[in-house]
Symmetry: C2
Subunit: 322 residues, 2 copies
């Protein structure tokens, strides 16, 4: 029921994933409002947490909301994973409160893939906004969980993990960054990852690391700055290309630009992952179309089948907390 | 003597600013290494702080460096302003230690203009990296100094000041952001600015504010992410345009793209400003060409003549500290 284009595009994407992807999709929501569900099973949920609702209040008060019911379905083994394009904070809160944290995890984090044109897998940044305030111990776990995700999802055996800072030197940054740097440099992240030091904001597309770790405030600002900058430039170019005297040239150019546009389209990645909860939870853009939902459902399915949650749990248990 | 292309491009830019802009430029550095200075006066400085040198150590140990001597020239009234494309940290440290802070200023901040295609003036973001750790009182002063700069430089009578956060609501962000929000919302920034609340990373090009305030860690990450994202996309497009089968189409397009490229070229803005020190200090990109140096010298000259330092000093004295 959540998302700017729900339930129409969500249901359409779910049907497509079921029919073409042969994935057993369960819908959660108000049966009377979903339109033609194409025979997909439905878990009824009478309430909806709106995009602008306070996440904590929404989850506490609307216990019969589609988000809470979806998280309960995963908890109760009725579903392998949940996907939502709804209120991001409420999606996180539902997953956290109903699925619960994995043993040893201090706080779950949002991992977001950033496309890399020069290789077959993206750069994963976390935390993209779940935790505005972090401790070095939390960032250390983000490194472990991000590496486990990258290994599970993209087959990168020993992911290179970097810390987002304002200079390459270990002396650069806040006390949080410097302490985390010292822990990772001393091998606290375990043998499953290779710590490659600090990277800067300009390095997101440089392929210097497979995983970039930061607190949820910096990560959210950086991700939105990145998306906003690309959108701004693409918008400015689109405006130029639409001018009458340019349109013909632009038309001749468009087949050459299409692969780049596709590679950068956030809809093609399927969304962000909430790591550290006891279940698979994919958070899609609020603006998700049916195409984005198909991709998100496919990613969620693949992660569940590939045992992501067990891998994330094992990565954290290997940490120094044990 | 500082900058990736120094002293050649620096001296060339200085000569051009003097000859075409009719600005009285003084060079600071090693006379024997500057090439033809075209008769410009030279303040001799025997040492050079390298781009990779530790800023604090460099300034303390190399008292006869061009950066330290340039800051001393401003302090001693031998120059109205200093411009450097050298080591950013050392430029800040030289200005801070030799010119000194303005009365009441807790810490100087780096203000960086971000182009806005829809209006005649840019959005100014500060702090872009001088202070990794900040207090709400510091951010309040950044708001005041940024507003004073925007008024002085761009003639915006009552600049709209926003706080960089991870959501529009005042409840979003770190304790630092929330406390600063409360201070600015209660009018602590004085009558010279209009506080418009929080903006997010995606809003840098949206024209929602004239000044965006943040701590130096977040600001540096955001600015480098913004620059890196634009550079990445421009690089990907340039690669496509250079393909043999595309080159002809791209050539027809280039006159239409030129104004956009010019508007986004960091060389055209002249660089960043260090606000809060007792003198004008313009910090140019390390990669500055002679064109960037001409613009930086012109900006520095104009700011000095327009009384920027007095305006910044007055803006801070209006604050609640008095």
């Amino acid at each position: 029921m959540g998302g700017d284009r729900a339930p129409g595009e969500i249901v359409a994407g779910a049907r497509q994933a079921a029919e073409q992807g042969n994935i057993a999709v369960v819908l959660v929501g108000r049966p009377g409002e979903m339109g033609d569900t194409g025979g997909l099973p439905v878990i009824e949920a009478g309430e909806v947490i709106g995009m602008g609702d306070d996440p904590g209040q929404g989850v506490r008060r609307k216990k019969d909301s589609s988000l809470v019911r979806a998280a309960e379905a995963v908890r109760d083994g009725k579903a392998l994973a949940m996907v939502s394009a709804g209120n991001t904070g409420a999606t996180m809160a539902s997953a956290l409160l109903r699925m619960g944290r994995l043993p040893g995890v201090i706080r779950p984090a949002i991992a977001t893939p950033i496309p890399d044109l020069n290789r077959a897998w993206p750069t994963v940044m976390l935390d993209a906004g779940a935790n505005a305030e972090c401790t070095p111990q939390m960032l250390l776990q983000f490194a472990e969980m991000g590496a486990a995700f990258t290994r599970n999802r993209y087959g990168v055996e020993r992911p290179r993990v970097a810390l987002l800072s304002i200079g390459e030197e270990k002396s650069k940054g806040t006390p949080l960054v410097k302490e985390t740097h010292a822990m990772l440099a001393s091998g606290a992240g375990g043998p499953g990852l290779e710590f490659v030091g600090n990277v800067e904001g300009r390095d997101f597309f440089e392929g210097l690391a497979d995983v970039i770790v930061t607190d949820g405030f910096t990560g959210n600002v950086a991700l939105k700055t990145l998306e906003g900058s690309l959108r701004f430039l693409i918008g400015a170019l689109t405006e130029i290309f639409a001018r009458p005297e340019v349109r013909e040239i632009a038309d001749a150019l468009s087949p050459h630009l299409l692969p780049l546009a596709t590679a950068l389209d956030p809809e093609s990645t399927g969304g962000a992952m909430l790591l550290g909860v006891n279940g698979v939870c994919v958070i899609s853009h609020g603006s998700s179309s049916s195409v984005a939902i198909v991709n998100a459902i496919t990613v969620a399915h693949d992660l569940a089948v590939a045992g992501l949650v067990a891998d994330v749990a094992a990565s954290v248990r290997q940490g120094p907390a044990e």
